[in-house]
Symmetry: C2
Subunit: 206 residues, 2 copies
C-alpha cells in the first residue's frame, strides 16, 4: 500500500481544504465518513449540494436567503430607513434573537483587512453605497436615514466602520454605532482594560 486508495485520498484532500481543518483532522473526518452509515454520509453530501443550489444572497441586504428576497427585507413592518451593517449572516441572527431592533440589515460578508489583502472590493460595500445613493435599491424603496454600524469591536471591525462612516457622511446619512461597555451579566473585576475604558468613555446620566 503506497498510500490510501484514491477515493479516500480525494476525500481527505476535500476535507483538508475546509478552513480550520488540518491534514490530521481531515483524515479523521474521512475515516469517520467511511465508518458511518451510508444514510449519514448521503445526508452530508446532499446537504452540501442543496445548500449551494437553494441558498442565495438577498439582493438588497446580502444576507443568505432561500427566496428572491430575505424575510426581513420583505417585511413591510420593518423600518427600512434604519440599516444596521454587520459583517456576517450569523450577526444578523444574533441581533434578531435579541429582538429589539426594528430596522433592516446590510451584510458585508467580511471586513476590511488590509494586512490580509481585503480591500473595499473584497466585501459587499458598493451595494451598501448604492442603497444610500438610490432609495429604490433599499427595501420598500425607502431612503436610508440612519446607518448603525455593528461590526465586531476589534481592529478590522473599526477600520471597516471608519471607512463606511466617511462614505455615509459624504452622503449626509446619519451614522451611529452599537454601544460599547460592560457586558450585561458580567463581572467588573474580570472585564479587560479596553472594556472598562469603553464603559467610562461611554458613561450615561441616570
Amino acid at each position: 500500500m503506497k498510500g490510501y486508495p484514491e477515493a479516500v485520498s480525494r476525500l481527505i484532500d476535500a476535507f483538508a481544504r475546509l478552513p480550520g481543518i488540518g491534514r490530521r483532522s481531515a483524515e479523521r473526518l474521512a475515516f469517520h465518513v467511511l465508518r458511518e452509515s451510508n444514510d449519514e454520509a448521503d445526508a452530508l453530501a446532499h446537504a452540501i449540494m442543496d445548500a449551494k443550489t437553494k441558498i442565495a444572497h438577498c439582493p438588497i441586504c446580502w444576507n443568505i436567503c432561500d427566496a428572491t428576497h430575505c424575510s426581513i427585507c420583505s417585511d413591510a413592518r420593518r423600518e427600512a430607513a434604519i440599516v444596521l451593517v454587520v459583517e456576517q449572516p450569523k450577526d444578523v441572527l444574533a441581533i434578531e434573537k435579541a429582538g429589539s431592533f426594528r430596522g433592516i440589515y446590510h451584510v458585508l460578508l467580511g471586513r476590511l483587512d488590509p494586512l490580509a489583502g481585503v480591500g473595499p472590493e473584497g466585501i459587499v460595500l458598493q451595494p451598501l453605497l448604492a442603497r444610500l445613493d438610490d432609495s429604490t435599491k433599499n427595501a420598500q424603496s425607502v431612503a436610508v436615514e440612519e446607518l448603525v454600524l455593528g461590526m465586531n469591536p476589534d481592529l478590522e471591525g473599526d477600520t471597516t466602520a471608519l471607512w463606511i462612516a466617511r462614505e455615509a457622511s459624504k452622503r449626509g446619512v446619519r451614522v451611529t454605532r452599537l454601544a460599547r461597555g460592560l457586558a450585561s451579566g458580567s463581572q467588573l473585576d474580570l472585564a479587560n482594560p479596553g472594556v472598562i475604558a469603553d464603559a467610562i468613555a461611554g458613561r450615561t446620566g441616570l
Copy 2:
C-alpha cells in the same frame, strides 16, 4: 429571520455530527461552503459519496481497499505467516512508509475500551481469531505463525493487546509486540518517565 434558511441549518447539522466539529466550527464550515465556488462544493460532496461507494474493507485484513482484496493481502511476496495487528488503516500506512515490515496486517478498526463500552464485538477481533484458526481465511492460505501486536502504546492499546495475546497463546501462535523505548532522533532529557522506564526495561546488549 427566526433562524438560518432550512438548507443552511441542515448543512450546519450535518457538519456538527462529524467528530471534533462543534456547533461553531460547523457554522464556519457551512458558511465557507456557501462562499466557495460550486465546483469546490461539488468536489467535496462527490468525494464523500464516491468514498462510500468505492471503498470497502479487505475481507482478510480489514484494511480499506478499492478492490476485492487489498494490495498487501494480494501480494504473494509478503510473508503471510507474520501478521501485524494495528488499530486503524492509517497505522498500516505509517508502518508501510517505514518499509521494513515484510509480513501482512490485521486492522481492528478500533480498540477495546471498556469505559466507552467497546467490547470484543465492537472491533474486528472475531475475523482475526478466524485467521488463526483456519489458514484458508489468511492471505495465500498460509497458517499464521506469529502475531505482532502494534496497538498504540497506551491503556486501551495495552488492554487490547492483552486480550489478543491470551487468545493467540491458547491457539499456540507466537505473540510479539513492537518495541518500546526512546524515539529515534528525540532527546533523552525531554522523554517522559514512561518512555525512560520502557527504555530501561527493554535495554539490549551491544
